[in-house]
Amino acid sequence: MDLATTPAATLAEMVSGTAQARDASDLVEELLEELEVAAHALFTRFPWDQGSPWHLSKTNLSALGGCRRRAALAPRAGSWNRALVVGTIADAALKSHLFSDAGDGHRVEAALARLDAAGSGGAAGWLGSVSVERRQRVCDEAEAAAATLAAFWPHPMSERLWLRVDEPLSVPLLDGSLVLAGRPDVTLSGPPTDAPCTLVEVKARNLHAQYRNEMEFYALLATLRDRQLPAHLVVLCGSGEHSVDPVQPDSVRAAARRVVGALRTAEALSVDQATGRVLATMPSGLCRWCDGRFWCDGGRVWLEENGLALCLDSEVDPDDLQCTDDAGYSDNGADEPL
C-alpha cells in the first residue's frame, strides 16, 4: 500500500487497532543471554568505570558497523550542518503538528518555536549564522519536508493511538554498566494497554536501506523492555517515501546480532587503539562527513575518485555535493542526547 497516495488516516488505521500483543518472553531470555555474554567479554577486557553507563545508541551501532577509523572519531558535539538543521526542523514540525489542535501553516516558525520551548536553540543559531539566501533555501527545504510528513498523519490526531514523542527506550545490561539506548520519534500504543506498540521514525529526506537496521534496533529495545513484540516499524520521509514493516522475531534477532557484532568490533577497535595499530578504513560516501577526511589517505582517495574532492575543502558544506554511493545517505553525525 502506498501511503503517499492514500488518505492520511490510512497510516493510523494500518498501524493501530488490529494488531494483537505477541508474547516474547522466551525470545527475550535468549537475546539477553546473548547480549550479556558479548558485553561481559568486552567489559572484562576493558573495564568501564566512568561512574555512568556506556550508552550504545543507534549512532554508535552504525559507526561500529562501518569504517573503524571513522568509528574512532566520535561526532563533535554541537556541530550543525544543513542536513541536521533540515532534519531537526522537520522533526519538530511534525511533533508540533501531532500536538496541535489548530490547522497547519508556518511550519518552520512553529518548529523553531517548539525547539526554543524545548531549550534547543542549535538549529536557530545555525540559521542565524548563514546568509539570507542560504537560510531561505534551508527553510524552504524544511517546510516542504514538514508538509509532506504532516500529510502522513490524520488531523486532528486520533487519541485512540496513545501517541508519545521521544519516549526513551533503554535496556541495561551487566547491572547497568552498558545501556542499549534509543528514542524513537513517535511511539503509538503499547503496554500497559492491550495493543502492541508501533515505532515511528521521521526522516527529512529520502528513504534509505540503513534505516531498517535502525528501526530493528528500536524493535529490539522495545521487545526487551516490554517482553512482547512491537506491531510495526514505520519510517516516514520528507521525500514522501515511507516503509511500514511488521515486526517478526527474526528481525529482532538480527538486531541483537548486530549489537553483538558491534560489541566485538568495539573490543577489536580498542585493541587496535591500545596497541597503536592503524585502524582499518572502509571508505564510502560517509567520508564526506567524516572529521578524518582531511588527513585520512583512504578517505581522500575515495572522495577524489568519486568526484567529491571538494569535500576536502573545509569551507565546503558536504551536503551541497551529490553522491551516488549507496552508503551516502545523509548523516546527521549524532543522536539527540538520550
Binding site: 568501564w48 577509523r69 511533533k95 508540533s96 500536538f99 496513545w162 501517541l163 508519545r164 514523542v165 568495539a266
Partner: protein
C-alpha cells in the same frame, strides 16, 4: 543500605520488617526542622518546604546543594510537565469524570488542556494558569501566539510521556484502589517549615489507608523511596507497606517493602536536608562544606569553580578507557 534489592525482570522485593511508630518519625521531623524554623523566623525569610528533591540533592553533594540558586525558577515545559499531567489526572478522576478509565490514556492531557482553554482562570492551579497563558517567568516576557502554542505543545508532549510512565507502574486502566491525589503536607507546629510528600500515586487498602506509594523517578530509587515513605508516614500517621518505583528509561518496576532500615534512612535524609537547608538560609557558601564528586557534577552550577568537581572531570578524562573511543567525546588520532 539494606532495603535495596536486585531487580531482575519485573518486580524485586525485600523481606518486610516491623514498622516504626509514625509518632516517633514525626518527633524526629519536628526536632530536625526546629533549628530551621528558628532561622527562618529570625531572618524573616520566606517559608521553607522540604521535599524529595532537597533530600536527593543533599545525598548527592552537600556543596552542590548550597550552590543551587534559592527560589522558584518559574514554570517551563520540563518543570510543568509532571504538574500538568497530575492536574489532568486529577481532573479526569474527579467526580465530574468518573468514567475516565474508559478513555484512552492518550486523551487525558489533551482533554484537560482543551478544558483549560475554554474556562476562566479563576479556579485554576498555578501550572494550569501558566498552561493557559504561558509566559517566561524568569524575565516576565510575554510570548507571541506562536510561542505560546509551542510552549503548550511541548509541555503537553512531556506530560503525556510522563503519564505513560506512570501508567506502566499503575497499570491501565488503574484499579480502583489507585489514587492520584496528593497525600498531603506536614507543617512544623510553629509554622515556617513544611514537609511535602511528592509521590506520583498511591494505592489504598480496604480500610482506606495508604498501602503502597508509587514513584516515577530515575534518580536514586532507594533514597527516593526512603524519603517519601517517611514523609507519607508522618503526613498520614500510618506507615505504608511498600513503595513501587518506576524507572522511566528502562520501564522497570521495583517494589521496595517498607522496613525499619528504610524508614531510618528516610529519617536521616530528612534530618540532613533540614540541616543543610538551614546552612543555605544562612548564606553559607558551597565551598564551605565538603563536596562529593561524581557524575552529578556534570549538572552542577558550581562545577567550574569547585575543586572536587574539576578534579572529577580531570580524572574522568584521564581514566577514559578505550571504549571512550566509540562513546560521546571527541578523540584525536
Amino acid at each position: 543500605m539494606t532495603c535495596s534489592a536486585r531487580t531482575t525482570q519485573g518486580i524485586a522485593t525485600t523481606a518486610p520488617m516491623n514498622r516504626s511508630e509514625p509518632a516517633e518519625l514525626a518527633r524526629r521531623a519536628e526536632v530536625a526542622t526546629r533549628p530551621l524554623v528558628d532561622l527562618v523566623s529570625a531572618r524573616a525569610a520566606a517559608s521553607v518546604r522540604l521535599a524529595r528533591r532537597d533530600a536527593l540533592a543533599v545525598a548527592r553533594c552537600p556543596a552542590g546543594y548550597l550552590a543551587e540558586t534559592e527560589g522558584w525558577p518559574g514554570w517551563s515545559p520540563p518543570l510543568a510537565a509532571r504538574s500538568l499531567a497530575r492536574a489532568a489526572l486529577w481532573a479526569a478522576t474527579s467526580a465530574s469524570r468518573p468514567d475516565f478509565a474508559s478513555d484512552d490514556p492518550g486523551s487525558i492531557v489533551a482533554m484537560h488542556i482543551r478544558a483549560l482553554m475554554s474556562q476562566g482562570p479563576a479556579s485554576m492551579s498555578s501550572v494550569e494558569k501558566w498552561i493557559r497563558d504561558p509566559f517566561l517567568e524568569t524575565s516576565g516576557r510575554q510570548l507571541t501566539d506562536l510561542e505560546r502554542r509551542a510552549w503548550r505543545q511541548e509541555t503537553a508532549a512531556r506530560a503525556s510521556l510522563w503519564l505513560a510512565h506512570l501508567f506502566r507502574a499503575t497499570g491501565w486502566p488503574p484499579d480502583p484502589a489507585v489514587r492520584f491525589a496528593d497525600i498531603g503536607i506536614w507543617s512544623h507546629p510553629r509554622g515556617s517549615v513544611s514537609l511535602a510528600a511528592t509521590v506520583d500515586a498511591h494505592r489504598v487498602d480496604r480500610d482506606g489507608e495508604v498501602d503502597e506509594l508509587i514513584l516515577v523517578t530515575d534518580d536514586a530509587p532507594d533514597l527516593a523511596a526512603a524519603f517519601e515513605v517517611v514523609t507519607a508516614t508522618i503526613v498520614g500517621s500510618h506507615a505504608p507497606r511498600a513503595v513501587r518505583v518506576m524507572n522511566r528509561r528502562t520501564a522497570r518496576t521495583t517494589e521496595i517493602l517498607v522496613d525499619e532500615p528504610l524508614l531510618d534512612t528516610g529519617a536521616r535524609l530528612l534530618e540532613a536536608s533540614a540541616e543543610l537547608r538551614g546552612l543555605r538560609v544562612q548564606g553559607v557558601r558551597f565551598d564551605e562544606v565538603a563536596a562529593a564528586s561524581g557524575s552529578h557534577c556534570r549538572f552542577c552550577p558550581a562545577v567550574e569553580i569547585c575543586g572536587a568537581g574539576s578534579a572529577w572531570y580531570a580524572h574522568s578524562e584521564a581514566r577514559a578507557g578505550p571504549l571512550e573511543l566509540v562513546s560521546q567525546s571527541r578523540q584525536a588520532e
